[in-house]
């Protein structure tokens, strides 16, 4: 059958079915499920960052009313398999064994050391307070300098060092002189530790039926199949006896992508008690034990010629990952993306970089939306701006001179990243027009005369989306790069659609329904999407790397094509027409002229109930599954650019956001409104990282930001309206040509703000080199306040 052109409702901003449920309070988040005879878990968590467990006395807790079980390492040892987060492609990587509850030593504040299961959460917390955990405190490794010191305490003694792994990349040896340069600029930027902070905390409800040996885990998670496979392995259950359901998820952003100790413990408790066990993290537990992200200290060198050609780029990323690499994906993705995506959009001959992952006595660093990209973007664009300033060039001029040309693809970067097609020049042109840079600059110049300091910052980025199997599979990590979709047409002609990708609000369900509706010629309302259930949907990746539409949508397209061919074959026989001349449109089988021959429902009905009308050998199944995985390239690389306009109050150090613009290449947009809101939401997460959000620890590894009053997130009044424009270019993969859009907003926002603030401070000779750009950071740069020292801010002060 010939390839169909993309048609309605692809490209239409149809509303989401889930939206109406959510607005009317009918969402079904994990904790909304009632469970008769259900139990609640609370955890005893380590109050110190590093220490030896001398004794855990649980007797007082066990004696309390309502307490059903108290578990420590002693009670669960042997009932599950501990895990190690490594990658077999990196045999030198240190992957210490991690237990559900530590046998001997705690390694971060908030690490669970005992679990209490009781008839209510409040009673479980009361009992947890009665557990006596005698922990002998040891010196903590809480900052970069301590971790690197030759006499540093070893967090994992069997690892021999606090260095988890060193990676290098590029087309030369790290540290060799640049070949061709008139000017070399060096600088270091510190990125604070932050966290995804979804509004719905991690929550789960496990039920075990001993008669059938089936464990059902409802959990707020992005990748139900991945968790199913991992838990089956860890708990020693058959994968077919483990069902993971993630129906509605109240925000995830990478935080709900991996495995946590509590996931295993709640399942173990459900198996042991034979009763439903629930755990919903409170906000304090979230700050202490959720994955954190992004703490980096990146030193970079950029080499330029007098006429503004960038000839060399080098970076050195120190990336402390907390007490363990996060399981199962490890914490490598973040640093690896910094290594490979920095300067990826520039035509630079001489590029090399180094990454060192360090253990620390802090909560684990895992994945957070746009893994690594915001750091890669901010360090690159900071260095490009510094070079432009040194040469007296406008920020856009140096970019125009050095961006990879829009007609130079496909090509490979010096770090081996395959770029099929980027549109950097087109995006920059669009951005400058949208923001009216000339008017903005004259306003800025006028206001400067009045002592008002405004800044304009531009940040361009290249992003990897819709990633396939290449990194995880060969590395021995069972994370699926493929995604699937099952379609079942009911006898009525209505369609059930079961994609493996999951929807945490991105609107993936609706985008996939639009694709299916387009191919089958039905209304979106005629399709019911069921996602987030490992027992119903085909095995697949779930929500990560902006793959929902780029990979999952492609699978849905293929499945719908196959179902369409099946329907047309039957219709062709019934009406004595060549199926090649028929199409499906508006719920009907139509001929080449568009005349309606019969309803699609009539054909479906015949397939189910009237085999007597069809030849014996004519297949009549109306249930189809197809999978899609990026093959031509490992991912859909794409690009975008952002600009921020800020005003910095030089007396108080406060930065106010006045405007923000995005030009992005998402390829084919299935639902433009959903795409724009994805990008805007991401931008605001990046703005939070730029100005507000920081997880802080003291020099002993004590958590200082444990409530939403300490950890500031952007609220409605903190951010401006955001202008989003689209540029569309081709892709190597698939029919749809859709690229990922979920990461783009975060990727460029903090880099744009960093450059904008430094543009504002330029006339005062000050430079900010630290994110988030808190008022005290600005004042310190201006020389008006003492900077926070490294010891007071977890090693990232400046």
């Amino acid at each position: 059958m010939s390839k169909q052109i993309l048609r309605d409702p692809i490209g239409k901003s149809v509303p989401r079915e889930r939206a109406r449920r959510f607005v009317t309070g009918r969402g079904r988040y994990t904790d909304d499920t009632a469970a008769l005879r259900g139990l609640h878990a609370a955890f005893v968590r380590s109050p110190v960052a590093r220490g030896d467990i001398l004794e855990i006395d649980c007797q007082a807790a066990r004696d309390m009313d309502g307490v059903v079980a108290v578990l420590t390492h002693a009670e669960i040892a042997g009932l599950y398999q501990p895990w190690r987060a490594g990658n077999t492609l990196l045999p030198e990587m240190k992957a210490p064994e991690q237990h559900a509850l530590p046998p001997a030593r705690v390694n971060y504040v908030g690490e669970p050391v005992a679990m209490v299961v009781a008839t209510s959460r409040a009673l479980a917390e009361d009992a947890a307070e009665q557990v006596f955990a005698d922990i002998d405190p040891l010196d903590a490794v809480a900052d970069i300098e301590t971790a690197l010191a030759p006499d540093a305490p070893l967090i994992h003694e069997d690892c021999g060092s606090n260095l988890c792994v060193i990676l290098t990349s590029g087309n030369g040896d790290y540290g060799t002189p640049f070949k061709d340069a008139d000017l070399v600029i060096e600088d270091t930027v510190d990125f604070g530790r932050h966290t995804a902070c979804p509004l719905e905390t991690r929550s789960m409800l496990a039920e075990y039926d001993p008669s059938s040996e089936v464990l059902t885990l409802r959990i707020s998670h992005q990748c139900p199949h991945q968790l199913q496979a991992e838990l089956a392995k860890i708990l020693g259950l058959g994968q077919h006896r483990l069902r993971v359901i993630s129906e509605d998820v109240g925000g995830a952003y990478g935080l709900k992508q991996q495995l946590y100790q509590e996931d295993v413990l709640v399942c173990l408790a459900a198996i042991q008690t034979g009763r439903p066990v629930r755990f919903v993290a409170d906000r304090l537990e979230s700050f202490a034990s959720d994955n954190h992200a992004r703490e980096h200290r990146v030193s970079a060198r950029i080499a330029v010629t007098k006429d503004g050609r960038i000839t060399g780029f080098e970076l050195d990323d120190l990336f402390p990952i907390g007490a363990y690499p996060q399981y199962p994906r490890t914490s490598l993705g973040e640093g690896n993306h910094v290594l490979r995506m920095s300067a990826a959009g520039y035509d630079i001959a001489d590029f090399r970089s180094r990454l060192r992952l360090l253990f620390q006595n802090k909560a684990l660093i895992g994945h957070y939306r746009s893994v690594g990209h915001p750091v890669a973007c901010a360090i690159t664009e900071h260095m490009v701006d510094r070079a432009a300033a040194a040469l007296g060039l406008a920020p856009e001029t140096i970019r125009l001179r050095n961006f990879l040309s829009d007609d130079s693809y496909p090509r490979k970067t010096p770090t081996g990243v395959h770029l099929h097609y980027l549109s950097q020049h087109a995006c920059l042109d669009r951005l400058l027009a949208d923001m009216d840079i000339t008017a903005l600059r004259s306003e800025q110049a006028e206001l400067r005369k009045q002592g008002i300091y405004r800044g304009i910052g531009i940040a361009s980025f290249v992003e990897l989306t819709g990633t396939g199997n290449g990194f995880y599979g060969p590395g021995g990590i069972d994370v699926s790069g493929q995604d699937g979709c099952t379609l079942k047409m009911e006898p009525s002609g209505h369609v059930r659609c079961m994609p493996s990708v999951t929807d945490q609000g991105q609107g993936t369900d609706t985008g996939i329904a639009q694709i299916v509706a387009s191919v089958l010629g039905v209304e979106v309302a005629d399709i019911r999407v069921l996602s987030g259930d490992s027992e119903i949907t085909p095995h697949g990746g779930g929500a990560w790397a902006s793959r929902g539409i780029s990979t999952g949508g492609e699978a849905a397209w293929q499945a719908a094509q196959t179902l369409r061919e099946q329907l047309l074959m039957v219709a062709g026989h019934l009406h004595q027409r060549d199926p090649e001349t028929l199409d499906l449109s508006k719920g009907h089988v139509v001929d080449a002229a568009g005349a309606q021959i019969s309803t699609t429902a009539e054909v479906a009905h015949i397939c189910y109930f009237r085999h007597d009308l069809l030849p014996d050998d004519m297949p009549t199944e109306l249930m189809v599954t197809r999978h899609s995985v990026p093959r031509v390239q490992l991912f859909q690389a794409t690009n975008g650019i952002q600009a921020a306009y800020v005003e910095v109050d030089t007396d108080t150090g406060f930065t106010r956001l006045l405007g923000h613009w995005v030009a992005h290449d998402g390829g084919t947009l299935i639902n433009p409104k959903l795409v724009e809101e994805q990008i805007r939401g991401g931008v605001v997460q990046g703005l939070g990282a730029a100005l507000l959000e920081e997880i802080r620890y003291d020099e002993d590894g004590q958590l200082l930001t444990a409530t939403m009053a300490d950890y500031l997130v952007p609220m409605a009044s903190d951010v401006p309206d955001i202008q989003v424009s689209h540029v569309t270019s081709g892709t190597a993969e698939g029919v749809l040509g859709a690229k990922g859009v979920g990461e783009a907003g975060v990727a460029g926002a903090s880099g744009a703000v960093l450059n904008a603030v430094n543009d504002a401070l330029g006339p005062l000779g000050a430079t900010v080199r630290r994110l988030p750009i808190a008022p005290r950071t600005v004042l310190a740069a201006l020389g008006g306040a003492a900077p926070l020292t490294a010891a007071k801010t977890s090693g990232s002060g400046r």
Partner: protein
């Protein structure tokens, strides 16, 4: 040690309820766990995020900062009821059409806050909407679509009254 309990009579969404709950249990949990109004979401439990926003005796309040005993005799309205009321339905439709939500977890609180704003101010500016909603945390949307939905509702209501939108 047995848990001190308390009997609380309250009216929720037009129905009378009497519950016997631990004295320390907060109203948001009572509404969710004892009465099944799971549209009341609990995000931070310390009054910062606004996900548990409900209406008590006509005024908006945070369900996580009120104990069961404090709501004795109160008339409470949650999103399940408010979203079906004629006075709020246009706001609900605007949230859907503007895609003013993504994961939806903040949305019940956001809609109830937005409804209160529109009851106070028929013709708000975008800045006023942002200021009013600045106690409701949304991690997904970037807020802009929410502001769009509120502005669209306000304009629709003014047009309905014959005022120029």
């Amino acid at each position: 040690m047995s848990e001190p309990m308390q009997r609380v009579a309250l009216k929720v969404n037009g129905e009378h309820h009497v519950v016997t709950v631990p004295t320390r249990k907060h109203l948001a949990d009572i509404l969710r766990e004892d009465l099944g109004f799971t549209g009341v979401h609990v995000g931070c439990e310390h009054g910062v995020c606004g996900a548990c926003t409900i209406r008590i005796d006509g005024a908006i309040a945070r369900g996580c900062l009120i104990l069961g005993g404090q709501s004795e005799g109160a008339e409470i309205e949650t999103i399940e009821y408010l979203s079906s009321q004629p006075g709020t339905r246009d706001l609900v439709e605007a949230f859907v059409s503007e895609n003013a939500l993504q994961c939806g977890f903040c949305t019940p609180g956001m809609v109830i806050s937005a409804a209160a704003l529109l009851a106070e101010t028929a013709d708000p500016t975008r800045e006023e909407v942002r200021a009013y909603l600045s106690g409701n945390y949304c991690r997904c949307t970037g807020y802009q679509a929410i502001v769009d939905a509120v502005m669209k509702t306000a304009a629709g209501r003014r047009a309905e009254k014959g005022e120029v939108a």
